[in-house]
């Protein structure tokens, strides 16, 4: 069973598959260029105080996202 969660709701060590990317236009394009496409797997490495920014591991490299970008990424997370 998997549930849907916003990326900013995850804690370090948690991860999942991208189910949807809500921004459109330039931000969406940018995120996709960096490898954040529907279906790609990522894991949260660490979160700064106040949750901004969030560092994630995807495709073998780490990427830092602003909180308001992380909020717009919906992940499919395996329910433990």
């Amino acid at each position: 069973m998997s549930i849907l969660k916003r990326l900013d709701e995850l804690v370090p060590g948690q991860g999942g598959r991208i189910a949807s990317i809500s921004p459109c236009g330039n931000l969406r394009r940018r995120l996709m260029e960096m490898g954040l496409v529907i279906g790609s797997e990522l894991m949260v490495i660490r979160v700064a105080p106040a949750g901004d920014p969030v560092e994630v591991l995807l495709r073998g490299y780490s990427l830092a996202l602003r909180k308001n970008e992380a909020k717009q990424l919906i992940l499919e997370v395996d329910a433990a």
Binding site: N26, E33, G35, R59, Y61
Partner: protein, 244 residues
Amino acid sequence: MIRAALIGNPNVGKTEIFNRLTGLSQNVGNFPGVTVEKKAGRLVHREQEIEVVDLPGTYSLTAHAVDELVARDYIVLERPDVIVDIVDGTNLERNLYLTMLLLEMDANLVVDLNRWDMVAARGTKIDVEKLSELLGCPVVPTVAITGKGLEDLKNSIVDIAGKKAARGRRAAQNYGNDLEQLISKVEEIIKEIPELTSKYPERWLAIKMLEGDESVMEQARASLSSSQLAKILCIIEAGEAAIK
């Protein structure tokens, strides 16, 4: 003289390669976006003079960021003899996105697989020959900080400069039937216009038009008759409607 341009994602060791090739010793910081202006240097290898231009570090080649547009316009409009795509060997998946975009532009490409020492240190194995076969261009492992592989890179630049764009055998992204049909329809119209075909790779231009790239549309508009423009817009509109 051979005109070569260096391109790659930010922080892959591009400026170090540039300095190694041209013998310049500038201070190289570790900040992203070190390269903001056009830097050029020269070297002589196997009695061939090579001019090297260092392009801005970029992940992509859209018209939405100034540095990306600078790099793209240089490649498309200045048509350097060789493009050296510097790839971080420890981060192949992300880096090869730019490589695919460059192949789509029909660039005469040499892939420099940098940080080769780190690849080994991480225990990763990369089959260089296979990668070269799949991409359809030479792949040269280097270690920019020690200068390892730089002679091979220079040799590849000189070798490939002589064989301009061996088209056809290159890797090309297949976008699936729906999009491929639209691409070939637009390409057919472009092929009738010598002004455009002499300047741009046809497939690339067709893809950019379908993407709704304003910069390309603006540059191409002057060469299109109003009926050709209408036809292209019609294909785009019909395509968008069909995909939705």
